[in-house]
């Protein structure tokens, strides 16, 4: 039966695509192939669901297989040694390891293959763990059959693999950090202090991010601005950091070591002293004096103060901004010119200023785009934006902050009175599977709400904070102790999610309706004010940035790390790293730690000076190429072009450094003239054949 099948398969090898393999220099030598197959038990992870002995015996029957072995843990040092020894002893030309995912251990076994004296690209992996034993745990027969097929498919490819030489490219000695919150600032400082020229791109007019909006930080109760401002100043004056505020990434091209990034510097309307000097205005430019702001007739809400404080059309967010340069809000500016007059001889203001596109070349990039609050008004049961005295946690931060709209006096928005009973509602939109909120834990709300409770106890005599919680997650260093301390200070903790908040129309007091799940009884509590610990979500517009850099996102929209445990700062795009909350909710210590990790990761290729690119780029089989140019238009990286070949014939040419190896060209070439290295047509066809027409001899 098997014989028949093989014959049929050989007869079919007339298809146009397959003859491609015969094209002289591109022909792999399958007839002389000697493949070694190594099956991994992975303890019981694989062997528990798959009959390894059966797979091993089956592998022996496959064409081109010269040696078969198995081991408990192939990835261990003795396991790798088996591969190295077998290559030498049995004169192998290719290696197949049936184990876990190539996304996990391909590099490990490639190294072992190389140590054995073969080109590392002579290695192929059969994934019999993640995509087999683990997903068919209770179907031993099905899983074993699948493993046999997977080995057969891998052997078929391995027999046709070729030696490939990774391309080495130099790395530009500069880095970019997108987003200048505490994560971006820390990463930029670390890179700069490591001697790397760093571009720090921030879309708002000042650096500092969310942390600069906070009053205090838990559990140490440091004043947030006090610990952040020195860092902001350091960033501003570090000679290795080129700070670009009011700037957004517009286009990203290139690859690790050589990213060409276009940044749009939005017209600020105000020149820095350096910019003024460049324009020949001696001693001019903005010095932050504020004369312009004083005369500006336009009044707008200040988003930094959560719109609870006014600002002018020419403004700075707060007194500690870095850089201390005023900015014009073009949407509200009426171009009356009063500010220009007030600025006088400094001539800093240019009402006709235009956006500017700046091209930067960097070796690596860190994304630190942060978060925003979930629009909690979508969950209307808590009455945000319906009742005046329901505020979000960020609004509370501004209300309690000494530099905030009320000078640090917590007041009710409805009547300016000091509240005596305040309810803090945790998990407002977090851990919410209703489809409206966010299913994940936002991780820092428990702690900041406990901090809020402390802050009001400290500031308002006789106040009573109530904290409505589902679970208190005080997971960090000294956090649990902080939680107990605030309990001792008198904060009341009530376990139960609030179902509804109602308002007394006369007093504007609020009724919090909840189930006390510890006492197992419903409750109705009258309070003066409600603070919602709203869920956090990725910053709006972050998808554009993410896609430009080729970074995937998780189901919740957070940027996806290369590996949640072992590579939390990296992404699947080489040379692009993540820092801070853009990767998932985290508090300040975790954010800073990750930023330092990302900076370290981003500095490695730069300090190495060159990186190896996987040699998966396309090549053109010139004798097959008809010069139609279809592929040129398909390539998203402009890596292909038509050039004049021998005898004036037009042929396609690949610029290898630009090619990323997607194979979109190879998937369409009508003449089969494109050779995708390591994913060549004969190799893929051999895999399909191996699966469907059998491989037994």
């Amino acid at each position: 039966m098997a014989e028949k099948k093989t014959k049929k398969a050989t007869a079919k090898k007339e298809t146009k695509k397959e003859t491609t393999a015969q094209a002289s220099s591109f022909a792999p030598e399958s007839k002389t192939a000697r493949i070694g197959v190594f099956a991994c038990h992975c303890g019981t992870n694989i062997a528990g669901s798959i009959d390894i002995e059966a797979v091993q015996n089956y592998a022996k029957t496959l064409p081109n297989v010269a040696f078969v072995d198995n081991y408990q843990y192939m990835c261990s040092t003795p396991g790798q040694k088996k591969i190295e020894d077998a290559i030498k002893e049995h004169n192998l030309t290719g290696v197949v390891v049936a184990a876990c995912s190539p996304r996990l251990h391909e590099p490990t076994f490639r190294t072992a293959t190389k140590e054995g004296g073969l080109n590392p690209f002579r290695f192929e992996m059969a994934n019999i763990r993640e995509q087999n034993s683990w997903v068919h745990m209770h179907d031993r027969e099905g899983a074993t059959d699948k493993a046999k097929d997977a080995v057969r498919i891998a052997v078929a490819k391995a027999a046709l693999l070729q030696d490939l030489i990774p391309k080495k490219v130099p790395v530009e000695k500069a880095a970019m950090v997108v987003g200048a919150g505490v994560a971006g600032m820390q990463a930029a400082l670390d890179l700069a202090n490591a001697g790397i020229k760093t571009y720090l791109i921030e879309k708002s007019p000042t650096i500092g991010g969310r942390m600069s909006q906070l009053d205090k930080t838990f559990p140490t109760l440091d004043c947030s601005q006090c610990i952040l401002t020195p860092k902001m100043v350091d960033v501003g004056r570090n000679p290795n950091i080129q700070l670009m505020t009011c700037a957004e990434v517009e286009q990203v091209e290139g690859y690790i070591g050589n990213f060409d990034i276009t940044v749009r510097r939005k017209a600020r309307g105000v020149m820095t002293p350096a910019e003024a000097e460049a324009k020949g205005i001696v001693g001019g430019g903005c010095n932050g004096c504020g004369d312009c702001e004083a005369v500006c007739p336009v009044i707008k809400p200040n988003p930094f103060e959560m719109n609870m404080k006014p600002r002018k059309a020419i403004y700075i967010y707060h007194p500690q901004v870095v850089p201390l340069i005023y900015t014009i809000d073009w949407d509200s500016c009426i171009k009356c010119g009063l500010c220009v007059t007030a600025c006088g001889e400094k001539k800093a203001i240019d009402l006709e200023m235009q956006d500017e596109l700046v091209k930067l070349k960097v070796g690596t990039a860190i994304l630190a785009t942060g978060y925003e609050l979930f629009p909690i008004e979508k969950k209307d049961e808590w009455g945000y934006k319906k009742y005046e005295n329901v505020v979000t946690s960020l609004e509370f931060e501004r209300l309690i902050c000494a530099s905030g709209p009320t000078g640090g006096h917590l007041v009710r928005p409805s009547d300016g009175k000091t509240p005596k009973k305040v309810a803090f509602l945790l998990c407002a939109g977090s851990r919410d599977n209703t489809g409206i909120g966010k299913p994940y834990c936002s991780r820092f709300c428990c702690m900041y709400s406990i901090k809020h409770a402390h802050q009001i106890i400290e500031k308002i005599p006789g106040v009573q904070p109530y904290i409505f919680y589902m679970d208190i997650r005080s997971f960090g260093k000294m956090y649990e102790e902080f939680y107990y301390r605030i309990q001792d200070e008198g904060a009341k903790f009530i376990r139960g999610r609030v179902s509804n908040v109602l308002e007394d129309a006369d007093t504007k007091n609020l009724y919090v309706m909840a189930d006390d799940t510890l006492l197992d009884r419903p409750m109705k509590l009258e309070v003066d004010m409600v603070v919602l610990a709203a869920a956090v979500q990725p910053t709006g517009g972050v998808d554009t940035v993410r896609k430009m850099f080729g970074v995937s996102c998780s189901q919740d929209g957070w940027m996806l790390e290369a590996h949640p445990k072992l590579n939390p700062c990296g992404t699947t795009t080489a040379g692009v790293y993540l820092a801070g909350v853009c990767q998932g909710p985290k508090d300040i210590p975790d954010t800073v730690a990750q930023a330092e990790g990302a900076a370290s990761a981003a500095s490695i290729p730069i300090h190495m000076g060159e990186v190896e690119l996987e040699p998966y780029f396309a090549q053109c089989i010139e004798e097959k190429c008809a010069g139609c140019g279809m592929c040129v238009n398909l390539c998203p990286y402009s890596a292909l072009s038509l050039v004049e070949g021998e005898g004036g014939k037009k042929v396609m040419k690949v610029t290898e450094a630009k090619c990323k190896g997607c194979g979109t060209c190879g998937g369409f070439c009508p003449g089969g003239a494109i050779w995708m290295q390591h994913f060549a047509t004969p190799q893929i066809v051999a895999q399909i054949d191996a699966f469907l027409t059998g491989g037994e001899e």
Binding site: K8, A9, K12, T15, K16, K17, S101, P102, R103, L104, N127, R129, E130, Q131, N132, W134, V135, H136, M137, H138, D139, G142, A143, D145, K146, D149, A150, I153, D543, K547, G550, S552, C553, S554, Q555, L560, T572, T573, Y616, P636, Y637, K660, G661, C662, G663, T664, G666, G667, F668, M676, F679, T681, I684, V685, Q687, I688, D689, F691, L692, T693
Partner: protein, 140 residues
Amino acid sequence: MAEEFQPKILGIICNWCSYAGADLAGSARTQYPPDIRIVRVMCTGRVDPLFILKAFTDGADGVLVSGCHFGDCHYLEGNYKAAKRMFILKSMIKNIGLEDKRLRMTFVSASEGAKWAKVVEDVVKTIHELGPNPITQLTK
């Protein structure tokens, strides 16, 4: 009907999203039927329609091509090209007498392990309903 029909389903999936998604289904131990065999490519854009025709003439009962979601392609737009090609190919295989449901293109991201399991389950179910590939019946 004496022997139970064991479908041969070929999955050609991209390295960055769907392969990672399938790996995640494994890490999470999400169970699904084993009737699929995977060939990994870097991008679904690499999938030459001829691979699929070859698979069907070789006797595949179903082919699943799975890549990144639109806008999330690791190589910018390979998945758009693939989706276009699969769309055209579907009408072609219909013309040669194959049910177009035998060819599926799906989009499974690296974080959608559960979705991958569901996709495979669904494809296996569809192929079971359709029965064996008629081409293999003809050449028997």
